[in-house]
Symmetry: C2
Subunit: 202 residues, 2 copies
């Protein structure tokens, strides 16, 4: 930008930090930075502290790999939940979507999907942790709730192949989901239907 030299360095640096966030363009980043300048100090401090706190206090649950403050997480520690069913999702935000649809079993968060084009293989996502977890024989069913995309389907197929021999039933969310949709933004009713219509992978 032509004004780069005359914008004070701390502001420039804040603009760049905002610009690094997903969906925040250069103009939005500038607006956000100037908003912080005008905002009360405590607003800037609240955001600053929250950023550090999240990195400091949040870890992965050693059971389901969901993000959590305590280990095991509140889902895994909840005795009222159905511990015989594990719903496998790509990312933590998908877990929240499934939860909103009324599901009350357990989860497993993969933190990614297979994507050979980007060089993401089975060892790059949390598949091994799922297999280890199934060895206690508690889980009777694994619901594959990866996105209805090419990568999501491939991931579901791989996991079905890997855990099938363990004698656990592997099901897939019904394809009531429109192809190419993003699970995170799907409405609760559609998700509930998809859960109901889940079918065994054969």
């Amino acid at each position: 930008m032509a004004d780069g030299t005359s914008t004070p360095e701390p502001i420039q640096r804040l603009i760049e930090a905002f610009h690094r966030l997903p969906g925040v363009g250069p103009k939005s980043a500038q607006r956000l930075a100037y908003h912080i300048l005008r905002a009360p100090e405590q607003e800037a401090r609240a955001l600053s502290d929250a950023l550090l706190d999240v990195k400091r206090r949040i870890r992965l649950c050693s059971v389901c790999m969901n993000i959590t403050e305590q280990d095991p997480c509140t889902y895994c520690a909840d005795e009222r939940r159905d511990h015989t069913t594990i719903c496998v999702v790509e990312q933590a935000l998908d877990l929240l979507a499934i939860e909103r649809s009324g599901y009350r079993g357990l989860y497993h968060v993969l933190h990614g999907v297979l994507n050979p084009m980007d060089g993401v293989g089975p060892e790059d996502i949390r598949v091994r942790e799922l297999i280890v977890r199934l060895q206690d024989g508690v889980a009777q069913e694994v619901i594959m709730a990866t996105n209805p995309s090419l990568e999501g389907e491939a991931t579901a197929m791989l996991i079905q192949r890997l855990i099938g021999p363990a004698g656990v039933k592997v099901t897939r969310l019904a394809r009531g989901l429109p192809s190419g949709a993003d699970l995170e933004y799907t409405d609760d009713v559609t998700l509930a239907r998809a859960l109901e219509g889940r079918r065994e992978l054969v």
Copy 2:
């Protein structure tokens, strides 16, 4: 949100802090928070530090009220600039827009406009500082570059009335600007035209 109880508190707090930013809705705030969770620690730290730094190191220039790290700011301290002309803008972002159009005089940042509906009077914006500043007799012309809105026009008229007796020429950006536009987003050429066509307030 239905998932409010099971989202770890530090994440909830980060979502709320993002949501407080202008133009960031609840869904975007959630996305940003989960992005931070996945991002390298140094990215979170860079944003966190930049936020505090801006509040710590940025102040108002005692001459022109622009935001700055040193006092006086780089514009006021620059001897190559035309010190006989002062361009009055509503906010610091407008100054950057004017600068991009090629203007090389001095500035005065009001940090607001008159808005009787919201209870913003002349004492709430930096008008007094402008009047004090004109007393040294250096400035020959004051260009009113407030937005072409109702409030911007009213502010220009008030300032013209207040500083007219000092014998300084007061001009206004030509109304080449489409009514209701936002100065910050106006393209450089239109802004340059508006500067050229400025006329004396009578």
